[in-house]
């Protein structure tokens, strides 16, 4: 269904990746390990009805219905670069709500320092959660520091290209943190918990030496499996037309977010 959106302020100069590529090249291990699995196997996933719970160190814990959430905050369209830790990238026209606007509804307490996100756990609808092949322990969990969560760039996406978010892209509600690797963008969020301590994150639990809590895009900090110095641009046209471009620190969003990490050694806190 099409969404009523308003234009947002970011990324007007970028050319978005095609809808077909954005919806058929997904890492969403709840559906399967191959990038074509989410589009193929998400047919029986129900993203309605859906509620989002905000709890923990907040003055007003809330449970919000997804359609009510969309109706009260008119989603804005924002074109963001997306850089996967596997050294490929896309440009995605999201429709979403700044996370800060949603968190404020619950009135985070002064003691809150982190936000923990929990994804959906439904083995009967998510084939990847049924068999033992994912070595991620479900549900998928992610986290942000509160100042990262409140940064104006941080978005909860509810749509793509002006349409309701497809299941394979994390319906009905997914996190988008464009200066971090894609795996930080937890999909199909059910719960956000404000915390005083750093929450666990799924990939970090699985391989702490490969995936850090921060996961900021950084060409100077290599992953043990991939060089992060450059990236393949998905959908840039055929075999011989596929582009490789240099990766930028914070995925090019340094002006908006570099101050969050002032004085931190990004090689240690990767």
């Amino acid at each position: 269904a099409s969404l009523a959106t308003r234009p947002g302020g970011f990324g007007k100069a970028e050319t978005p990746t095609s809808l077909a590529d954005i919806t058929h090249y997904n890492n969403f291990y709840e559906f399967g390990l191959d990038k074509s699995d989410p589009a193929r196997l998400s047919g029986s996933f129900h993203s309605r009805p859906w509620t989002l719970r905000i709890q923990g160190a907040v003055a007003k814990p809330v449970i919000i219905d997804i359609d009510q959430l969309i109706a009260t905050h008119q989603p804005e369209s924002r074109i963001y670069r997306m850089r996967c830790v596997e050294a490929w990238s896309m440009v995605i026209p999201w429709d979403g709500i700044p996370l800060a606007d949603i968190l404020r509804q619950a009135e985070p307490l002064g003691s809150a320092k982190f936000v923990a996100f929990t994804s959906v756990l439904r083995p009967d609808e998510l084939p990847g959660q049924r068999s033992g092949y994912g070595s991620i322990s479900w549900p998928y969990v992610e986290g942000l520091r509160l100042d990262e969560a409140m940064n104006p760039l941080t978005l909860l996406a509810v749509g793509l290209y002006g349409e309701t978010l497809p299941s394979q892209n994390g319906a009905p509600l997914r996190l988008v943190v464009p200066w971090k690797y894609g795996f930080k963008g937890i999909k199909s969020i059910t719960t956000m918990t404000l915390m005083e301590t750093m929450p666990p994150t799924s990939w970090n639990q699985l391989a702490p030496q490969e995936y850090g809590f921060y996961a900021n895009v950084n060409p100077d900090v290599d992953h043990p499996r991939w060089s992060q110095a450059s990236e393949r641009v998905i959908g840039s046209g055929g075999f011989f037309g596929e582009r490789r471009q240099p990766t930028r620190l914070f995925n090019g969003y340094g002006d908006q977010v570099a101050h969050l990490y002032a004085g931190m050694d990004l090689k240690t806190f990767f």
């Binding site: 077909a20 590529d21 058929h24 090249y25 291990y29 390990l33 990038k35 074509s36 596997e86 490929w88 092949y133 994912g134 070595s135 991620i136 990939w203 699985l206 391989a207 290599d222 043990p224 499996r225 991939w226 060089s227 110095a229 450059s230 393949r232 998905i234 959908g235 046209g237 055929g238 075999f239 011989f240 037309g241 596929e242 490789r244």
Partner: protein
């Protein structure tokens, strides 16, 4: 022996093997050039070539266990299968350097010095080079016993390629595990028969 195979000249079978063996590469290359290989054609092509290299490596390594277990020998086709494995590995590496890295040798150097996943892959490929280079009838005869010794490197190639295959995924991948398990079974059959024949020889001597 299956009579149909006996009646077909081996040369014809070998030629058919070569042509059929190269079909996956040509087909994907064609699709890729036409941008019909999905959102990430280079990576799809690269992976397909690597997968077929592993398949042909397994096929060539299956010839002896097949004879040991069933008595049925396809030994005259082993060289073709081994060479197909090498050709696919070569195309796999060439695609990685030319289409994926686009000749960025700085990244290539870092990949090969820092990333175990790619180090294992390169070891497997380097192992296959001397095997392919000494595959001619002339060199087999000339090298004699040494040829057999040299070609034991294929086991190093199998182990390195298995590590590379398993490490290419972020989590344990069932398909990769299945392939690696198949390779392990082929090795176990050989080792099993080797031990049995040694036990028999020792028994005969006593």
């Amino acid at each position: 022996m299956a009579s149909s195979i006996r009646w077909t000249p081996p040369g014809v079978i070998i030629l058919t093997l070569w042509i059929a063996g190269l079909v996956p590469a040509f087909r994907s290359f064609w699709l890729g050039a036409d941008n019909e290989l999905g959102p990430d054609p280079v990576r799809s092509f690269e992976h397909l070539l690597g997968l077929w290299a592993f398949r042909f490596l397994l096929a060539s390594l299956a010839i002896t266990p097949l004879r040991l277990v069933t008595g049925y020998s396809l030994i005259r086709y082993r060289r073709t299968l081994g060479l197909l494995a090498f050709v696919y590995a070569l195309m796999h590496v060439a695609t990685y350097i030319a289409l994926d890295l686009q000749f960025d040798f700085a990244i290539l150097w870092r990949d090969l010095t820092r990333r175990p996943f790619l180090v294992f892959g390169m070891i497997a490929f380097l192992c296959l080079i001397p095997l392919a280079a000494t595959s001619s009838q002339f060199l087999i005869r000339k090298l004699g016993r040494n040829w057999r010794r040299l070609h034991r490197i294929v086991y190093v190639a199998l182990v390195a390629a298995s590590a590379h295959f398993l490490m290419a995924f972020k989590t344990w991948h069932p398909e990769a595990l299945l392939y690696v398990l198949s390779g392990s079974i082929l090795l176990i059959i050989r080792v099993g028969y080797k031990i049995r024949s040694q036990v028999r020889q020792t028994g005969a001597k006593m």
